[in-house]
Point group: D2
Chain length 307, copies 4
């Protein structure tokens, strides 16, 4: 796709001013209380499943900035505490690492100097964003999750790096699973990225390495039409190399900057996929609870599916 | 209460071996799939509310170890990214700070050298706990939340530091709110700690300062009888000074070490209290999703109530 | 002093282009190998003294961003190490805190959008400075240190916050101590800031608090004439409130941005002052060894005086 | 060497109680003011050279825990500062990483549960060491540095991983360089480790990788006889695999635990080696200035050689 065609696509899916000139929630506006109630009504077996990868403190090809966790105090310290003792630790991380399950605030991505809703990038300063930070989701995001499982559709363990999923694939997955993605939904998009990592080991998923499987840019038209509220991929949704000339990460630009879509990165659906098979359904309640971090551009999180 | 009386109380509420010699989940065992379904059935209006305090990066009397958040990259960097740019940040914190909403792993507290289920404190090493870390809750905790609002009961804005809430108070709150705390419930215990902080400013809540309002140690008998699964307080549940001779934090010892009860610290119920009044109900679905941090003694989190 | 007068002063002491259009070392150019040899020749008794404050991990009025230090591993871990064990820790800090002894890179301060040598502030990006970082001092700075001790001159324990030291004071201190500040020297400027802190406790030294004692802006003319290479103050050299209309920290602008002078902040000369009295001399060898941190805007350091 | 032979060697070089039962300085006691004066007298050309590797923030085979450096504030922030702006950053690291130039406190290493001077490892708690922390060197270490350059002796670029340097090698290097290591000296031991890294890239220097070149355990007898005060290696002094049965890092145990010798890790002598050749001398003044970090088990540092 040429840069010009990309800009046309950007324009087609653009939600700027759709919810007012100062809106900071974007496609989260699609989720109404009725959607929350409907999502809760999907709870039938009472099982919950994490969609997060265990936090990784070991450096590797996809983890150049490992999280750290150190003990602050152990049970060897009793000063003034009588018979009691406390173990405590410290945690630090970059919030947008390739192998840490994290959610992006809308200030995370700009295209041609503009954030979602046309706001200038100067609204993000060295002291942090002055708008569209992660606290726009302070009260959590609750809705219907629908997993479209492309490896399952194709009968493979995972998609190989570089493979791009098309609208036809997504629609075929809907049919195969008996679901239809609709307004206010939380889309879980499975490429098998994490399963590949578990079985073959980590690789460098960016342009300096093997790449990754993801969506074709044109699928954004479908997500836009369907009024999807939230996008949760294993991997990060991008096909690397991308199909847009000169633009390495077009999905991020379209989703976050054009559509104002709440996106996350680097989830894992391996435990989820098993439960889906057992229950023979690919829809469920999802609860997203980002840390309430003022001026955060994103946070690590642990999204939960409830069946 | 004398040390001897405390040990008798410890013995009465002790759940060691109740769920087997190697159990690491304690009172979370009370929550069955049926409880999850029942909790989801409480979702009627479709509103969600955060129970977390915004993360505090400013040092203060109750925040001696402030969290930090710094920009890792801003939209001034475009190298090899074409027209795109990304804002990213870094976050670090102690997980058990007095003013950070956090959840404790069962390895957090020991009494007389023993963790829950009688495990020795040597199981927590300088590399982290080798059992009962925060990943025992990897798949989240979902259940019925019941808020017992003591200031509401008493017609005050908040309890003053040092005030101890008794079983009679808790039962009176149940009656006033038309709820009854039962097996597998998530107890939200409100003293108004955070409201006091918002209106009067921070104070030093420990023994070197003004203290805090909390539970009387004997209320643990009630929580034990009722088979409460999770305890979520504003403040941290402790009355400071405590009512046990020579033991500054008896509630932690009883809940975590004796009962194996999942506890959190430093929540806020100010937004919640308003919704409860509006909906005239003090029960709702609660979803707890700690970060999936191997060897974590706890994590910051953002618990969500769904009405 | 009016803003206009300040700009005239800025112009008078300005060293831009003095050492070429791309110079990044500023007044360090004054120090020649001959100065290093002369400094070494001052070593007569063989005693060394630290000029740093012990690193402070406790939050306080002048320490809003305390450094942290946690154990990474203790001697309880022997895996595969036979009879050996290792204790290791982790350290983190903001490099420019008010109570941490630190040295500034020349990129640290800009005035009217310009760094030293007229370079634009855009040369400092969110990835760090692209010029004039702390590694311009990678090989250390060695020279003659001269302490001008103003409280000693005045017969007081310390200067009170807000007091401004003039050229006359500096010259009187020279006379009292029998030294003369000259080309390539390292000036240690003592107000007694740290002694006051030790005896009275910490205060808020900025505009939101009690202020601090420091230099009058016009003393920069003397430092410029004398060709001082490095400035090491207790406090940070600034008088707060400043004597320049609308400019809170004029000394930083003059020293770093106009003169390209290597400056440090928050040293302590209490141990040094005793040795100076004992040896009856206020000149000595000084060795400055900043961490070799690429893209650092400064680093904590431990400057050493050798007698 | 058998474990028994190692224990005999440990006993032979043991300095416990040599400087009193509560000594915390070990072989630093060898350095007298006369040694400092003699070291300063070596300053003849006035050049200074760093012995540190630039701090590495990129993960790699020898850098599993990379240091981090982030901007805290940039010149885009002017609030209340008039025409001034400040760039500031944050720095964090593990202090004992394989590729970070750092110095060890004597509490860093224990052998058979004992620290230097026979102190029990329980003196290092989860709150940090209660003795022999890095502040025993608060006032810096100044002395004569002598570099023994083994690759130069052998006419090779570097020693290969696994090669062990013997007493004969060290004595031959002394002869070749016209120096003799003596009481109170700072030994710089060059294997070419860093040159190999610069030319061939990083490798895993531990037991899970290619190993490293270092000293044979028996050389400790020579260092003991010669009363060397400080040991500064490129690499970390250890030969990996070691020549002691069942003990992977015997040099650390002998130097730090038995001898109480101040040691550092991971220096680089590439810049130094050039100056040594130019000046035809392998002795010079060395100044070591560890951060003044209470309870630190070590710190990053930038040792400086002055010619």
């Amino acid at each position: 796709m040429s840069a010009q065609e990309f800009d046309q696509l950007f324009h087609k899916v653009c939600n700027w001013r759709r919810w007012g000139p100062d809106d900071e929630r974007g496609t989260l506006n699609y989720i109404t209380p009725a959607h929350v109630r409907a999502a809760a009504a999907l709870v039938r077996s009472g099982h919950s499943v994490s969609l997060a990868i265990p936090i990784n403190t070991v450096a590797g090809p996809d983890n150049p900035h490992p999280a750290v966790r150190y003990m602050v105090q152990m049970h060897d310290i009793h000063s003034d505490l009588g018979e009691e003792s406390f173990a405590m630790d410290y945690f630090a991380c970059e919030c947008h690492g390739d192998c840490h399950t994290h959610i992006d605030a809308l200030c995370h991505v700009a295209y041609k100097g503009k954030l979602y809703n046309g706001k200038p990038v100067s609204r993000v300063t060295s002291q942090g964003p002055t708008l569209m930070d992660i606290t726009t989701m302070a009260h959590g995001v609750v809705g219907r999750g629908v997993m479209l499982d492309i490896p399952r559709l194709r009968g493979v363990k995972w998609l190989e790096p570089g493979e791009a999923v098309t609208r036809e694939d997504l629609e075929a997955a809907e049919k195969a699973e008996g679901v239809q993605l609709g307004e206010g939904d939380i889309l879980l998009f499975r490429t098998g990225h994490h399963r590949r990592r578990l079985e073959l080991g980590a690789w460098t998923p960016g342009y300096d390495g093997e790449g990754r499987a993801g969506l074709h840019s044109t699928t954004m038209l479908m997500l836009h039409e369907r009024k999807v509220a939230v996008f949760l991929p294993d991997g990060d949704g991008e096909t690397v190399p991308s199909n847009v000339d000169g633009l390495p990460y077009p999905i991020h630009a379209l989703q976050i900057s054009a559509m104002g879509m709440t996106c996350a990165d680097s989830l894992q659906f391996e435990e989820l996929a098993k439960v889906c098979e057992e229950e023979r359904r690919w829809e469920f309640m999802v609860v997203i609870a980002p840390l309430r971090l003022p001026r955060g551009t994103g946070t690590l999180f642990n999204p939960i599916a409830i069946f």
